[in-house]
Amino acid sequence: MAPSVVRGLSLIAFLVLWTVLARANGDPTVLPSPLDLVRPFVEEMSSGELLYHLGVTVLRVAAAFGLAMSIGLVLGLLMGTRPALDRWLDPWLVVFLNLPALVLIVLCYLWIGLNETAAILAVTLNKIPNVTTIIREGARALDPELKAMAQVYRMRRADYLRHVVLPQLAPFITGASRSGMAVIWKIVLVVEFLGRSNGVGFQIHLYFQLFDVAMVLVYSLSFIGFMLAVEWLLLQPAERKVRAWRLA
């Protein structure tokens, strides 16, 4: 079977299981079936509410993701190639790795205020240690022979980074972005839940207080749908392009 067919069938199986469970439960206010979600979804969509909050959350995810990936990439590369620096920074990394997301979020809000800066900073700080650790592994495994080659032939620094280092780090970068995306959007929801007045997390907070299970599901599923689209339409094609040389 073609991969796309398997993917479709697997998703349908999930929906069927969900419908069966909803039927067995019998109370749509506790567990609405997928069909029960269609009407609230359409209403929320046509009022523009859903798109607005979805858009706000996407922007926050993108900002935090971009920041965490670039800072983590630089840090990981430095720590992976400079053992002295690594010894100094490693304890910090361990501290930040083990700092619960919630603590960072609360502290950022307390110190900076209930604003956008604090929200994005909290998410970014949560993700940087993770990216750094993964990229550091990649940087430690860089091929010393290729480095020697670049040195003898006096390759330009920019060329060396782009054409020698980056391709070697590519699998680690994809790994970090994949796990990064998933973690970041979950932390963004918590940030919105706790201290923002828009976004998917804020809406979920609102409907949680109204005991409206259907709307909570509508919002979270919409975002999951969006992330699946990103994965299939952006990440996977990009990955295929980067890996082309391996398959040739």
Partner: protein, 214 residues
Amino acid sequence: METGVICVSVKSKAFGKTPILKDVAFRIKPGECLAILGKSGVGKSTLLRIVAGIDTDFEGTIQRPDAMAFVFQEPTLLPWRNALDNLLLVHRGLPERQAREILAKVGLGEKADQFPGQLSLGQQRRLSLARAFAGNPELLILDEPFVSLDEKTAAEMVALTRKLMTEIAPATLFVTHEREEARQLADRVLELEGTPATVVPNVVRPVFQKEEVK
């Protein structure tokens, strides 16, 4: 000091407490090919890395030109870039037309768009050789570039290397454990021996002339 002469003088080199090289000194004139013979593990590769400036942790002085090329034991190509880009990315000033000519010269004219992984080991070695000569080096260093090739491919490689060496005429430093290879390529042979390795006395001699081996 004469210009263009490569002057190597390594007083000592150690890895940790293990001494590897001691009192190794020689000079290479432009266009001259010096072979260094020695058993595996004697420190030949270490010496080459010092000469090339890859390893700077030693006592002594090296006088070398900026335009250098190194043919490593392994092809050491960029597997994620095609054959042509492997030349162009390393030699930024090289026009594409010229890079294609060099590829054709080493018999890879048709392979410009292929990734190194699609080439045979012999072809990868030739690409690595093309990369070395593409920069018109003043100093060319070869670290056993013909090992693990079958006899026929190795002979082809030696012939190709010789052809390119006469064309570009760099000062060449060449390491091998095969006396025959040294005979075919080198003007002079120097032998490394002992622990720490040093130049064997009285072997710095013009034993072989290129003309001899036609």
